[in-house]
Symmetry: C2
Subunit: 341 residues, 2 copies
């Protein structure tokens, strides 16, 4: 058991960020590799997923999930190998998707572990197009967005893990799909590689006017992942009967106070009223866990048929995870951000 | 035909209000009684409904319906008698519900006219509990609010035409129902006559604290008819998975500008996200016209069984309609406001 001579590197939450997280909010520790008890497995992390929701877990304000405690390992989805097994359902060498967090090794009693097929070509996809981001894209668009052929679908963060899948599903369904992304590179990728009808650079000074031009028939479905100035440009373009699945608000995650007025809360509710708009937040596994098999089957088929492309932005080394997350919240990643541990 | 010797009094929109409407925005005119052509009927108005949506039609900003043109008769739902008929489907003496507007007489080609039963005990109910307000209450609550037994339903404008019906349906379905109304008289009526579990006076200085106390398990369904300070008190109490049908925003109809900051638009969308809330506007006949028969049958049954009470606030004389609407927007009415013409 050579692994026992090594240590377990883990990254814990050292302090809670005020505004944007910094490297000082994280601490790399080395501990002994844990030993599985009866009914447990020891997991060796291969891939760690970095996702926007992690910013929320670093704060202790009210949210939909418990915050990470100070001194505790940062949460995160992982693909791991079973290194030791004292559990009847897992054997050494099995590859599993789970939530081992930001560390080399973790124990598990098997809860929420999903075995991956031994011949899976690209296991990191279990953290992306076939995992939480892909599932989030699929359910939010289909169940809340309910797009119909010929409608206009606008997708924020269009080159990202969720947005890229949302838009491609929209194309499969026959929508006009307009993406919003940060920078010419990402916009080019969204139209040229992903096949969106248009992609607007949110950094352009005339972004709002460009978006309006790209949506001559207004917006029927807006898949919200961003908020802020992007939503401000979308709001006046929403059509009567529009649907707005609210998946994320990355522009606001580092906010420390409400922006200056005027107060547009009443403007938003009035828009929902007079245009009969449905706006609905969702948390993927809380709301839709029972529909994961349906998603997996369909998405796997689309991947095999080449109808869905998925870009990964892979960084090497667990110690890079803090900078990875900090950059993700600023839009520096290009594709699904994953750490190869 | 004695009526031909009379004139037709009608109230037209004289000017568009800035903020709250005033009597000067309306003008009472007298014209000749119109004469029906082939395929038309002449209607004599018996009852005219006054409703909050009329404020929107007085403005020419973008909304869900065309504004009333300057110099044109104010729109409104009516119960009328057929006084002359050149239409094969209607005979003199038929009582019909339609949209004759603020006037004694109107022509109709039969479009959107609904014949009322000759033995209808209280024809004005066709403008209230069995008409648009009741239908609005029924569909918004059941289709968007989706209340379940044991959940907490909060109803704004609880003594009004829509809110009173919403809350009573909620009680029939087994909800805890908390009303919000303006003044002790209305609150007493809501609990004592309508059977709500509690009713909070929105004018009380500690209104928000009282509402929180009345909702110890939070709010699962909030039927929005008001906006403003009422919604501000509701927002922090909304539970995970709450539903918010947006039927009206009477607190804002006279607004001329957005309120001062901070800007809480992002706060609202964040609340929708982290609590997975569905907030949805609707316009009753645009969204649900096809379900009117289902509503009518059910509501008629509830009325016959004494399970729904409905209060009317009847004022006499067409010339009183402007003051009636002005007062309605300030909450002066107590029950469904109707003009006996």
């Amino acid at each position: 058991m050579t692994t026992n001579t090594q240590s377990n590197r883990r990254i814990v939450l050292a302090s809670r960020p005020q505004g944007a997280p910094t490297a000082a909010n994280f601490q790399l520790e080395e501990t002994a590799i844990p030993v599985p008890a009866a009914g447990q497995v020891l997991l060796r992390t291969e891939y760690l997923s970095l996702d926007p929701y992690m910013r929320g877990r670093m704060s202790d304000g009210p949210s939909y999930a418990e915050p990470v405690a100070l001194g505790e390992v940062m949460v995160g989805g992982t693909v791991s190998r079973v290194e030791q097994s004292m559990h009847p359902d897992f054997k050494v060498g099995d590859r599993v998707q789970g939530y081992a967090g930001w560390q080399d090794y973790a124990l598990s009693d098997g809860t929420a572990l999903v075995k991956l097929a031994p011949d899976m070509q690209q296991p990191s996809q279990a953290l992306g197009v076939l995992g939480m981001p892909g599932f989030t894209a699929y359910m939010g668009l289909l169940d809340i967005g309910q797009p119909k052929a010929g409608e206009t679908l606008v997708v924020a963060a269009a080159s990202g893990a969720v947005g890229s899948v949302v838009g491609q599903i929209g194309k499969i369904l026959g929508c006009r799909v307009v993406g919003i992304a940060g920078g010419a590179d990402k916009c080019g990728y969204v139209t040229d590689e992903l096949g969106f009808d248009a992609c607007i650079d949110r950094r352009d000074p005339d972004f709002a006017a460009q978006l309006a031009s790209a949506c001559p028939n207004g917006i029927d479905v807006y898949y919200e992942n961003v908020g802020g100035a992007v939503f401000d440009a979308v709001l006046p373009l929403l059509n009567t009967g529009a649907r707005v699945p609210v998946c994320g608000l990355i522009a606001h995650y580092n906010d420390t106070e409400l922006p200056a007025g005027p107060d547009r809360l009443g403007l938003l509710t009035r828009t929902l009223l007079v245009k009969r708009i449905r706006m609905q937040g969702f948390i993927i596994f809380d709301d839709y866990a029972h529909r994961y098999p349906e998603f997996f089957t369909q998405m796997n088929q689309w991947l095999q048929d080449g109808r869905i492309q998925f870009r990964e932005d892979i960084i090497d080394g667990l110690e890079q995870a803090p900078e990875g997350l900090i950059g993700l919240l600023q839009g520096h990643n290009f594709g699904k951000l994953i750490v190869r541990v």
